[in-house]
């Protein structure tokens, strides 16, 4: 079959479609966004009526996917690593309910934090939930794993986790497709009460999960993704997880590696192969892109046994993503001298686009807050987080989705008034609404600024669940109508907007200000699309 060029994310999407997917759920988050985007743009997915579209957040997405699995069909839910924190309640409990139709949870990790606030490793979540976890080495394997992972999910009636990292998610390579598989028909779970996690049922279901652990292990030991490559030199044995295997092989252009290598792509850890490697080698080197998950599991707490080298003993840097050079250095290879970056090269941090509406919101807000001491603006996750940088330096926090409103509330509760929250429209419906309800119920004196650019901008302009609903939501949550104020964040209205901010900041209750103007990129794209539609229509006439 013909090779098609796909990003790792796209390979996962195409693999799922070809494996008989019935629905995909997701909230945008780098580096996972392109999985859903690919399905949204796929004609095949449309023809096969695969459900697609953005959810309000990762938890609602996870639950909807679980519901589709309950109904017997194959479902997938995709998110960035920190999104799995949001979905964690549903995710961990789905391991107890089990799955009916195949259920794959995709978490895209971001070691080195290219576009994230931490580099947590989702394999921990897989272990925590005690479910089979997959980690592809390349785009082709990412594609192939979808068929396989749906099979494992349906064979054992369990959700499975697929973990990738930024470099695979956003790297393109040739992929060969498999024949397309039919979707499942509707069916109810075999045990009619397995999804009712009352303690009496949950205890039984937990035992089922525990009993399944042996089967998960034996599946791992026979997995086509866990491969032992023999080597003659047993002074060292190497364990390489996911794309770390590529960085290892890059150091051997002729693939003539002398050490035995265990390539790991499926968890729980393949105990049989690991034990064999341990006993046959003098010491082990563990290569994994992310936390030392595997290394920690096989290292003795008391330092007994053979030497295990990796991120914990300092052979590899403890943080940051791996690359061919780091792995080469861990193998004692000398690094050739390279040119240096000239001193004159200046840092070029990302910034708000020229003419971005957030610029004018921040200019007016900064002016309104001039009379108060610094440190009063609690912000959130989105393009507007760039307001932390020069020349604005307008915000003081950015922690997790929705934390702006609740942290402002906590600070106001402590007596730090005025306290201002700045949050985007999509982030508000993701996780800001419940915090606003808390503030209303407590009558906390906070000013909430919902920057409404009618899109999820930072991840590339996906549909926002909030569009057209923000005032209604705020009023329904109990914010007084006269304190829900829409403004136009334009330099023309700078003075006027600053006065509105000042007045509402003075108000000793919850007020919501909504600076509203469409993101420039989204607007440009919308205008292009509208023009295209008009052209097509005029051709028809």
């Amino acid at each position: 079959m013909e090779k098609i060029l796909l990003l790792g994310d796209e390979a996962i999407a195409q693999g799922a479609i070809d494996a008989g997917l019935s629905g995909i759920y997701a909230y945008p988050g780098t580096p996972s966004t392109e999985i859903m985007e690919y399905v949204l743009g796929s004609r095949e997915a449309q023809q096969q009526s695969v459900r697609s579209g953005w959810a309000a957040n990762e938890k609602t997405a996870m639950e909807a996917a679980l519901g589709m699995s309950y109904a017997g069909k194959r479902a997938m839910v995709c998110m960035k690593h920190v999104g799995l924190n949001v979905a964690a309640d549903a995710f961990i409990n789905s391991a107890i309910t089990g799955a009916n139709g195949g259920l794959i949870v995709v978490a895209a990790d971001d070691p080195s934090m290219h576009s994230s606030q931490n580099e947590q490793d989702s394999r921990f979540f897989g272990k925590f939930a005690m479910i089979p976890t997959f980690e592809p080495v390349n785009q082709q394997e990412a594609y192939d794993m979808m068929h396989y992972a749906f099979d494992v999910s349906e064979k054992y009636g369990t959700p499975v986790l697929m973990r990738i990292t930024t470099r695979l998610a956003h790297s393109r390579s040739g992929v060969i497709r498999k024949p397309v598989r039919e979707q499942n028909t509707l069916s109810l779970p075999k045990m009619r009460n397995q999804f009712i996690l009352l303690p009496a049922n949950a205890r039984k279901r937990y035992k089922v999960l525990l009993e399944n652990q042996d089967a998960f292990l034996s599946d791992s030991e026979q997995s086509p993704f866990n491969i032992m490559h023999e080597g003659k030199d047993h002074s060292l044995g190497i364990i390489a997880c996911g794309i770390a295997y590529n960085y290892l092989m890059e150091n051997y252009p002729d693939r003539d590696i002398a050490y035995p290598v265990l390539k790991v792509g499926q968890y729980p850890l393949p105990k049989k192969q690991l034990t064999e490697l341990y006993h046959s080698c003098d010491e082990l080197l563990v290569l994994e892109d992310g936390y030392p998950v595997l290394e920690e599991q096989i290292s003795s707490f008391y330092g007994l046994g053979k030497k295990i080298k990796g991120r914990l003993d300092g052979t590899l840097q403890r943080d940051g993503e791996l690359n061919p050079n780091k792995v080469g250095a861990a193998l004692g290879m000398l690094h050739a001298e390279t040119l240096a970056v000239p001193d004159l090269v200046a840092a070029r941090p990302p910034k708000l686009c020229k003419g971005c509406p957030h610029i004018y919101s921040y200019n007016a807000l900064n002016a309104a807050l001039e009379m108060h001491s610094k440190g009063r603006v609690f912000s959130d996750i989105g393009c507007y987080t760039l307001g932390a940088l020069e020349p604005f330096e307008a915000i003081n926090t950015c922690v997790d989705m929705g934390a702006s409103i609740t942290m402002a509330k906590g600070a106001a509760d402590a007596g730090f008034v005025p306290a201002v929250a700045v949050i985007g429209d999509s982030t508000f419906t993701h996780s800001g609404m419940t915090g606003l309800l808390d503030a209303v119920n407590d009558q906390s004196p906070i000013t909430v600024i919902i920057l409404d650019n009618a899109t999820t901008a930072m991840t590339g302009g996906q549909t926002s669940s909030a569009t057209g609903k923000i005032e209604d939501i705020c009023e329904a949550l109990g914010v007084k109508k006269e304190h829900v104020i829409v403004m136009n964040p334009s330099p023309k209205f700078h003075e006027e907007n600053m006065e509105v901010f000042k007045k509402e900041i003075e108000y000793e209750g919850v007020s919501v200000i909504i600076p509203r103007r469409e993101c420039l990129h989204t607007a440009a794209r919308r205008i292009r699309e509208e023009k295209k539609i008009k052209e097509i229509e005029s051709m028809k006439n």
């Binding site: 576009s115 393109r172 092989m249 690359n323 390279t338 004159l344 090269v345 990302p350 686009c353 590339g460």
Partner: protein, 195 residues
């Protein structure tokens, strides 16, 4: 055959159109390809790069090792220097000379060009001017690709075909402008090598 290319620029400058042209040509030639891109935060006017690897043998890493890149292809002069540690001793530095100034401390362009000239094998081309002279400012990227074409290791015709494929949706006029831009850059580089 193996070519490891670092594509460099500023978010929004469209380095991925160059990647798409080289990638399409490489696939048409039956070569292996891996191309790591940057999505997300840095796309907002920050420095961006893409690791593009083509080879007649299977490629292991999505990332190019330091000191192994055969070429740095940059649409912005200061950005071309940011990746010098990636460049092999006999590698080519090919850069646009037109600065993209969106930071207050952007260095003097003359000092930047002095650093570019320190690299043994380099081509500096004012792609914006060439593209503007052609009446198509937007095709500067294809001018730079043209200047790199003699060193990419792919037949020139193959790049032409890739550009035709990629832009065909946008009509014949767009295809022709981009092919012209490619040939202008190509002629510029050829002239430099022959002198």
């Amino acid at each position: 055959m193996k070519k490891d290319i670092i594509l460099a620029g500023v978010g929004g400058q469209g380095i991925l159109s160059i990647a798409a042209a080289i990638g399409t040509a490489a696939i048409n030639e039956g070569l292996y390809l891996k191309q790591a891109e940057v999505h997300g935060m840095s796309q907002r006017g920050g420095d961006v790069h893409s690791d593009l690897r083509i080879s007649d043998r299977e490629i292991a890493s999505d990332l190019i090792p330091e000191g192994k890149a055969d070429m740095i292809l940059s649409v912005e002069p200061m950005e071309s220097l940011r990746y010098l540690p990636m460049l092999a001793a006999d590698g080519w530095l090919i850069t646009n000379t037109n600065p993209y100034v969106n930071i207050p401390n952007y260095p003097e362009i003359d000092s930047i060009m002095a650093e570019v000239k320190k690299v043994n094998q380099h081509i500096a081309i004012d792609a914006n001017k060439i593209a503007a002279d052609m009446g198509s400012k937007r095709s500067a990227n294809m001018v730079i690709l043209g200047a790199a074409a003699p060193f990419i290791g792919l037949p020139y015709e193959s790049l032409q075909k890739a550009i035709t494929d990629i832009f065909s949706r946008k009509g014949e006029a767009v295809v022709n402008v981009n092919l012209k831009a490619l040939s202008e850059g190509y002629a510029f580089a050829k002239k430099l090598i022959n002198n």
